[in-house]
């Protein structure tokens, strides 16, 4: 699963590497490891969801717990990435009015 996702995300890093003025390869070098981490995390989460679905019929409680863990596994990195992206917009010590 993770390997398949990494191959899919390879297209994105490939497109980034085409950016002009020499920043393409540099950005691709940065996004490549990120894509690897993302594919590993997402692959583990999706795998856990499939396992949970398979167990719904036989052990519903275990399946529900596993689904929650898988959702957290996928959601937490995305939330962290979003928080990281939004951070520079808000100056330190500033409060929303």
């Amino acid at each position: 699963m993770a390997l398949g996702l990494r191959l899919i995300l390879g297209a994105a890093t490939d497109l980034i590497s085409h950016l002009p003025f020499g920043i393409g390869p540099l950005l691709a070098a940065l996004t490549g490891p990120l894509a690897t981490l993302l594919s590993i995390g997402t692959g583990a989460g999706l795998s856990a969801i499939i396992v949970a679905l398979a167990w719904v019929r036989f052990r519903p409680l275990a399946a529900a717990a596993l689904s929650a863990a898988a959702a957290a596994f996928i959601y937490v990195p995305a939330a962290l990435a979003r928080a990281h992206r939004d951070a520079p917009l808000a100056p330190r010590g500033a409060r929303a009015r």
Binding site: M1, A2, L3, G4, L5, L7, I8, P25, G43, A54
Partner: protein, 423 residues
């Protein structure tokens, strides 16, 4: 998406170390990629989608299989009948899953081709190996400029014993590394006792006996090995080895023996009970009288250091599984005449198990559960892709070109990484 054009600029064949090393150097035109982000690029999308779908199918199938296996193992114990191995088979238990523990006995086995007889053993294995050339290929790549990569391919040749014949015509340098056809088929030949039984008379079929696999070497001196007519040059050259020189196919031993090597027949060895003083030098290996009487002559014993092997030589070794002194334990279905057959549930999942030693039914079921758990997690890891090949983390040739040391250190870390388990 421009692909790097490969051009062989130079081909260098160097034959060093008496033709045991062939090295070729290629210079490939492979400019530092500007259009490769890694992961196979856009062309990797379709394989990526396919691989993800396959992984999902594998995970789904594995969970279903695990559930069925778990249910079957849960049902085992309540339906199980514990029998006494000393008692004769009871027809009332026909068709039921039974558990038995006790000593396993068999009359013994014979290797008919070589006349080796072993009393009381459950399995006998003859391993034939051929001394042959083997090719090893190593490849190294090194970027020499922004446009070229130097690729060095080295083929090494060495002689080793092997159980699978190697086709030397496919070698990079077949000349001087020819592997002749072995004088007899190489590989393993296994004999399994078909008359094994428990003390009560319950017959244990070969399918169960074959689950014992802890082999021990068979000493050959005095084991009754006979000389095959088509291999007159075969001789016992060690405690448990029969050597068949390639050059003497169908002829008497013609390779010069090491000076002072005593050669004795098996009869001589038995008669003199290990005492030195056999005949030396080249001699007729057949014992006097054996050929005249028409009996199959025993295999001669070559004492002293064995001659150095040559390509094409074949050696034979025997190993056996003796009846376990601690007995065996069995889980199987009792057939009509007391025979033991594979047991299976409605879903087709079955048990047919023999283990060494006395183990209770609960212990055997526990062992089955452990094995099933290992299989389940192995398939989960494969489906999750946590143990992804190193290649998946190594799609950044331009990165390693820009910052070789740091990048390679990171990539080596990345190659050994694994995803957390899904549950």
């Amino acid at each position: 998406m421009p692909r790097p054009v490969t051009a062989i600029v130079m081909l260098l064949l160097s034959s060093a170390c008496a033709q045991d090393l062939v090295r070729s150097v290629h210079y490939e035109y492979r400019p530092i990629a500007r259009g490769r982000g890694g992961g196979g690029g856009v062309g990797g999308v379709v394989p990526g989608v396919g691989l993800s779908v396959l992984s999902g199918v594998l995970l789904w199938w594995n969970e279903g299989r695990a559930v069925r296996e778990s249910r079957m193992l849960h049902r085992l114990l309540p339906s199980l009948v514990r029998l006494d191995a000393d008692s004769p088979p009871d027809p009332t238990h026909d068709g039921r899953l039974v558990h038995l523990s006790g000593p396993l006995r068999a009359s013994g086995l014979v290797d008919p081709e070589w006349g080796l007889q072993r009393q009381g053993v459950l399995r006998l294995r003859r391993s034939a190996e051929v001394y042959q050339w083997r090719e090893e290929r190593t490849e190294t790549s090194q970027r020499v400029s922004e446009r070229e990569v130097r690729r060095e391919v080295t083929h090494r040749y060495r002689r080793t014993w092997g159980r699978v014949p190697v086709d030397s015509s496919r070698f990079e340098a077949p000349h001087g590394h020819h592997n002749p056809e072995p004088v007899l088929p190489v590989g393993d030949t296994t004999f399994t006792a078909t008359d094994a039984a428990l003390p009560g008379g319950i017959h244990v079929p070969a399918g169960l006996v074959a689950q014992l696999s802890d082999y021990a070497a068979v000493p050959l001196a005095g084991a009754g090995l006979t000389q095959p007519k088509h291999l007159p040059s075969a001789a016992i050259t060690g405690v448990g080895t029969v050597s068949i020189p390639f050059q003497q196919r169908g002829a008497a031993l013609s390779r010069p023996l090491p000076p002072g090597s005593p050669v004795q027949t098996t009869d001589d060895v038995l008669r003199q009970s290990g005492e030195a003083g056999g005949r030396t030098g080249s001699l007729t290996l057949r014992p006097a009288g054996a050929a005249a009487s028409g009996e199959t002559p025993p295999l001669p014993v070559l004492r002293g250091p064995p001659p150095a092997p040559e390509v094409g030589d074949v050696r034979l070794r025997w190993s056996e599984v003796a009846s376990p002194a601690e007995g065996v334990s069995i889980l199987a279905r009792q057939g009509r005449r007391g025979e033991l057959l594979p047991w299976s549930d409605e879903a087709g999942r079955g048990v047919y198990r023999l283990v060494r030693g006395v183990a209770s039914a609960e212990e055997m079921v526990q062992q089955l559960r452990r094995e099933e758990r290992a299989k389940k997690w192995l398939a989960r890891a494969a489906g999750c892709g946590g143990a992804a090949p190193r290649r998946s983390c190594r799609p950044y040739p331009h990165l390693s070109d820009l910052a070789p040391r740091a990048a390679q250190a990171w990539l080596s870390d990345c190659g050994s990484s694994s995803a957390p388990p899904p549950t």
